[in-house]
């Protein structure tokens, strides 16, 4: 039984049709890495999953809930799909700990104590226990992104969506974030990751999608696609990224 299912999804921005009938099924515990040139629709694909973008045609179901199912379904989808953004988007008026406690308290109705315990455990998991009481502005980019991952995990999602989580980071800070993501993958978290980190795709991914022009052009095992690209386009793309 799939956890995410795109059926004939159509999506436009104004007059521009971005998706013309996308079909995609993602199974629990899959780590799906999405690559492709700029403007190919990677972010849009990801944002359609948790209904940050609306779709015009077809349907997307997440654990049975439909992005077209109205307010309740969308709320349930968002509770099941944690999201990590390129720009971290931590709440600047809250400490790292408060950022992570926010979700459990406001959307999961946890008590302050429960939320605190959970948040401390998650900050420990991402290696930031010592930074719990610092504000985002006092943290490095890599640390901020790890807090953002902890914040997304705090709502106890079944699925994690990452949109270029390391693209805003200096190269030397990327590894600490990728390591946390790798651990999550090893623990069996279902993940959809838009990234340019080919090495990470090979190591942690169980599946690789190559998008171009709003289409999923290739869909296969990372090793196979990366070692012997089945098309000129993918070979070109890989040469440019690496």
């Amino acid at each position: 039984m799939s956890i995410v299912k795109f059926s004939n999804v159509e999506k436009s921005f104004g007059p521009h049709k971005i998706f013309n009938g996308i079909n995609l099924e993602i199974m629990p515990r899959e780590v799906v890495v999405v690559i492709g040139p700029s403007g190919s629709g990677k972010s849009t694909l990801l944002r359609c999953i948790n209904a940050l973008e609306s779709i015009e045609g077809g349907d997307i179901r997440v654990d049975g809930f439909s992005v077209k199912g109205g307010r309740n379904d969308i709320r349930n989808i968002r509770l099941e799909a944690g999201m990590v953004f390129q720009q971290f988007n931590l709440f600047p008026q809250m400490t790292a700990l408060e950022n992570v406690m926010f979700g459990p308290m406001r959307v999961r109705k946890a008590t302050r104590r429960e939320a605190r315990e959970l948040a401390l455990a998650l900050l420990e998991k991402v290696g930031l226990s010592e930074r719990a009481n610092h504000y985002p502005a006092e943290l490095s980019g890599g640390q901020q992104q790890r807090v953002a991952i902890a914040r997304a995990l705090a709502i106890r999602p079944k699925l994690m969506l990452f949109d270029e989580p390391t693209s805003a980071l200096d190269p030397e800070l990327r590894q600490e974030v990728l390591k946390v993501m790798q651990t999550l993958a090893e623990e069996g978290m279902t993940m959809v990751i838009v990234t340019h980190e080919i090495e990470f795709a090979r190591k942690a991914g169980t599946r690789l999608l190559f998008m171009e022009g709003g289409k999923i052009v290739h869909d296969g095992k990372p090793n196979e696609l990366l070692l012997s690209p089945p098309s000129e386009r993918l070979r070109d793309f890989l040469q440019h990224v690496v």
């Binding site: 509770l79 953004f85 709440f91 406001r106 709502i155």
Partner: protein, 218 residues
């Protein structure tokens, strides 16, 4: 000529009464004006097109006419149009409220829209409805950006109450003028009036400076 301190001392109790009314009118007017302005600003930032357009017209109209005309309209024209009687002080409060609400609306709209969209998305992505994102995340951040221009508006509106002398509200400026009509001590009384305004406005300025220091922009 010599500065006649005794004229100031004699007029002082009456001037203080005028100052009290000035503060009262500005205070109530601003509380109402800020409340309405915050609502209008939210409508301007996020409201559906028809309400948004209505708010835009209101704001444009108020900002596009002089306050003194608004005061005259509310006190002299509105009663005729609506068949009501309105006292000068309530008319003054309404004028300050209506006038400041339009400026506050623009301030609120600007600071709401200046908050990064990513933060709203982060909140929505957690499963919060939009209004909760506004109340718990973006609203408080926007409020911090609101503080400096809001302080500015309070200072402006407090000074604007002096225009209410045209409808005979015995606020500070009107009171000064009345006293001078009696004792002809223009230098002393206008000096005293200026100093009293300056003290009041400095207090308002210091208050907002304090708030700003407690809640810096993030």
């Amino acid at each position: 000529m010599s500065f006649d301190w005794s004229a100031v001392i004699a007029a002082f109790p009456q001037l203080l009464q005028g100052a009290e009314l000035t503060v009262f009118i500005a205070g109530i007017g601003l509380i109402a004006g800020i409340s309405v302005g915050v609502l209008l600003g939210m409508v301007r930032a996020f409201g559906p097109a028809p309400v948004n357009a209505a708010a835009l017209v209101y704001v444009a109209f108020i900002r596009g006419t002089p306050l003194i005309v608004q005061i005259m309209f509310i006190y002299f024209a509105l009663p005729i149009l609506m068949h009501i009687r309105i006292q000068a002080v309530p008319a003054g409060i309404i004028a300050i409220a209506v006038n400041s609400s339009a400026y506050v609306a623009e301030i609120v709209r600007g600071s709401l829209l200046s908050i990064s969209k990513g933060l709203t998305e982060a909140g929505l992505a957690m499963g919060l409805p939009f209004w909760k994102v506004l109340v718990f995340i973006t609203g408080p951040l926007a409020f911090r950006r609101l503080i400096p221009p809001l302080g500015n508006q309070c200072i402006t509106s407090l000074k604007d109450t002096s225009l209410l002398l045209v409808i005979g509200v015995s606020e500070l400026t009107f009171t000064g003028q009345e006293i001078i009509a009696d004792n002809f001590r223009a230098v002393e009384i206008w000096s005293a009036v200026a100093v009293i305004y300056f003290v009041m406005l400095s207090a308002v300025g210091l208050f907002w400076q304090y708030v700003e220091r407690r809640m810096p922009i993030l």
